[in-house]
Each structure stands twice: as structure tokens, then as C-alpha cells.
Symmetry: C2
Subunit: 319 residues, 2 copies
Amino acid sequence: MARPAPDSVTRVASIGAGPIGAGWSAHFLARGFDVTAYLHSLDELPAFKEILDTAWISLEALGLARGASRDRLTITGDLEQAVSQAQFVQESAPERLDLKQDLYEVLGETVPADVVISSSTSGLTMTEIQRRCSTPQRTLVGHPFNPPYLLPLVEIVGGRQTSAEALEWARDFYAHAGKAPLVMKKEIPGFVATRLQEALWREALHMVANGEASPEDIDTALINGPAPRMAIQGQCMAFHVACGEGGMATNLDQFGPALKLPWTRLDAPELTPELRDRMVDGCNEIAAGRHFEEMAAERDRAIVGVLKAVAAAKETRER
Amino acid sequence: MARPAPDSVTRVASIGAGPIGAGWSAHFLARGFDVTAYLHSLDELPAFKEILDTAWISLEALGLARGASRDRLTITGDLEQAVSQAQFVQESAPERLDLKQDLYEVLGETVPADVVISSSTSGLTMTEIQRRCSTPQRTLVGHPFNPPYLLPLVEIVGGRQTSAEALEWARDFYAHAGKAPLVMKKEIPGFVATRLQEALWREALHMVANGEASPEDIDTALINGPAPRMAIQGQCMAFHVACGEGGMATNLDQFGPALKLPWTRLDAPELTPELRDRMVDGCNEIAAGRHFEEMAAERDRAIVGVLKAVAAAKETRER
């Protein structure tokens, strides 16, 4: 079987019964795919079904794709059967390199030629995972964010032997499947989102270790400060829009020296003219000609909605 | 005038016409207070009114307090008149130490005795600002997050001469005024939220400088990954709940070694038994007996609402 067009895929295989594997199964079912789930042991079935039940509540609330149904799920303990008809494979096996290498040796032979195999790995690189695979050019990482059935991000990155075409195909397929794909420029540990989150997490641990804040302080600060805004504008655009007409250029030219202040334990990079321009150009590209007032108004509408949504979600608790 | 009970305050003064000062005026008006705004120059009036107009759209959407009205705003260019009847003063003057020290020298004499004076400063310490104030015990920092009329966080911290009573009063008053107050344990640069945000920001700049990601990649990753979840659970509780029954203890005991991986340029703190226990105890306190499944369900409801709210806010743009 040749690689189908990304938007013509109807059958996917999901390997793994944990929160990530079961979460992917739920996501693909909700988007209207036929899903074959491979469980390493059928003992995992109750836990798998429980995750699916939980996920389905939210997926229904978000809105299912036309024709989406849990009846389109096939569960099997036979790996070859799981993948033999698949047009795309999402692999979420345990995070052990030897185990994944063994698995990709098998998948390299059993998954139809050219069909993309995407790993949910968060800590391993595809260069390592694909080492013993006979068809490594179509293997890559498609790293989701937990819970994978709700958060749209998928970080895509290949290993040394992955083809550029496979990466492009994966980007288009994930977009077709309702995800927000991000194709990484380099194979770096932690991808983009986890690196950013990890920097924040380490600063938080330092603060708790030094008696500067409690875990509750950390969470209160995030929930009531940056988070509702970050759901509509990432850190780059939040600063760009906050600086009005001057945007990111004003932010860096005016507050650049503040980068050297001891406002975190992470050392600042050198603010070279090149870095400045990359930041400014990048923000202007995202803005795509929109005026900062328009973007600020959109931000405010979103924050109002986010605050209301969070309050509504808590209502059950407080009753 | 003695310090009134925090929940009996009806008249506040807001000093400053910039986005922060005007934003505070809008917030207090929406919560039903009489507000006197001090503008350093009446030339600032058009910009001040524009911010108020913009803020009011969102504040009405969120729901005004009973009796709230823009008619309850008085604008003046006379500082003494602005503060002489105030039961609380929020100061958002420009971020220059000499200017703030001069201002607090005047406010120390003109603001009624014991009435709390709270600074919006993000980069200066109250220990420095209050140095020439004759009544420093009632001066403190109440640092908002932009936009201050929408994001609930207020980080409260005193200077060396601030009284503990004033800090407690400010916490209670801000809570009464619809804010989420966080009283800081120490006077550290960047407070809690900005430190966390700054760690993330510096990692982002490093990634752009090294060609690992573009500003658009950074924002795509945040918006579609950690942000929608962080609006309901901060980083501590996100990890606590993601680890199921084992919670934060499992997170630290199992993934502790991963702290040493090069997943950010920020060095990890030593994961001492004491730090581990503080994190675990802190998360259990926030959970307050709730089962992780209940918290995961609340998280999922909130994320669904957040995603819908952000999509709705963008609808105008895409039409």
C-alpha cells in the first residue's frame, strides 16, 4: 500500500493502552476515523475503556466529527493484525529505548510500506528509536500534550533517517485530524513546549526549595496571571501586543537591559541585533497586518471567555 | 481617618493614566467602588478614557457588581484632592525609583493616616520606594498582571518597614475587590508570576537565538499545549493530577532523574527529601481531599470551555 493523501486517511492504528495511547484512540474516534487499538495485554482493557469513557464526555462536549462513533473501534492483542490495514500508526508504547527499538524492528516490516509511523515519545529521540528499523524513512515523532484527546499540540520531528516528505505528510495529516502540528527545526531534547514548561517548572522548584513560595503560591500565580492570557496569545505575542504601536521592538529595545536582572535563575541569552530582528520579524508575521488594538480586543474577549469557562468547570465542586 | 474594615471600603484612589493605572480604575469601577483617578497631566485624559472604554466592554461581559457605574469616576489633576478622601490608594506611576520616592514622600503626608497605599511596581522594591516616606508602615506592593482589569492576580509584598497588619489588610481588601491576592513570603525580584514567566521567556529567547524554534513555534506550542490546562491547574497540580493515585510523589520519585536532563538551560535544584515533601504536601493541601479523577474531570471540563472560548473570541477575525 502506498502512502495515501493526508486528507484521505480513514483508518488509523493506535498502539498502547495507557493514558496517551488510549487518549489518542479517543481523539481519532472523535474525529471520525476507524481506529484499531493494539493492547499489549487484554488485561489492560478495563483501564483503556475507562480512559475512553472519560475522554468521550469532553469530546462530545467539544463536538464530534460527522460519522464519529465508538463503534468504529476495534481492539486487538495481535500487533500484525492491528497495523496491517492501517493508513497511519500512532505508537504510544512505554518509554524504554530497548522496547521501542524492538517494536520498530517489527513495525518496520509489518506496517504497509510508506505508511507513516509516529511515536508519542517525550524523552527519546527518533534517531535512536529507528536504529534497527528496516524502513526508518517513514518513522518520526508526533509528541502530544496531556490529555492528548483535548490539547491540540503535536510536536513533529524526525530522526536522522526520516525523510522530509514523511514529516510534511505528518504535518498535513495531523492538521486534517484536528490537531495543531508544529514541525520542529531540530531534534532537541524536550521539543518546544516541554522545554518551556520545564524552565518554568525548575524555577518553581527553586522557589519552593528556597522558601520563596509554596506550591499553592506557584499555582495561584499561574492560574490567575499568565495562563488565561497565554491560552490566546503565547509569550511572544503577549509582549508584542502589550507594547502597543512599538510592539516587540519596543519590548526588546526598552526592556532588554531588564533581561539581565535576577528575575529567574535562568541566564539570559545575549540580545544580539540578529536575535532582536528574529523576534520582531516573527511577531510581525504572526500579527499578519492586524493592528495591536484589534489583537488586544481579541485577547480580552478570549480572557473573559476563559475566566468564565474555568468558573463554570468549578461549579460542580463548589456546590 | 483610621483604616476601615477591608470589606467596608467604598472609595479608592488610583494614581496613573497608563495601561496599568487606567486598568485599575476600570477594575474598581466595575466592582462598584467610587474611584478618584489622579492624572499627572490632563493631556493624558484621551488615552485614559480610551483604555477605560476598551476595558468596560470586557468588564460588562464578565458582569458588573451591583451599583457599578462609570458615573462614579472622578478625574483630577490635583494629587491631594485625589487621595484626601480615599480609603485605599493604588499607585501606578512610572517605574522610576526617584520619581516614586518623591511621590511616597508626598503621599505619606497627604493620604489619611493608616490608609493603605499599594504600588503596582513590577521592578522596584518597596524597601527602596518607602525610604523617604514618613508613614511607611502602610505602604506595600500590590502588583497586578496585564491587563489588570481582567487578570485576577495581585502579588502582595511589603518593604522592610511595612507592617504585617497592612499586608493582611491588603490581602483581605483585594479579595473583597474581586482579585486573587497572593501574599509573598519574601521580597524577591520579579515576584512569583513574573519569575516563572521570565524563566519561560528566557528559554524561548535561547531557542530562537539557536535556530531551534521561531517566535511562531513558541506561541503555537504554548497556546495549544500547556496554556489551556494551566488556566485551571497550575504546573504543580497539573503534574499531581497527571500521575494518578501516586500524585506529586510519583512524579518526583519516578521522574526526578529527568530533572537532570538537558530539557532547558535552567539548572535543576537538588531534589532533597525536604523539597520533595514540600511539593507533595503542598499539592495535597491544594487537593484538599479531592480524588485525582474528580480533579481530572474538572480539568477536562475547563479545557473544553477554554478551547471553545478562545475559538469564539477569534470568530470575528476569521469572518
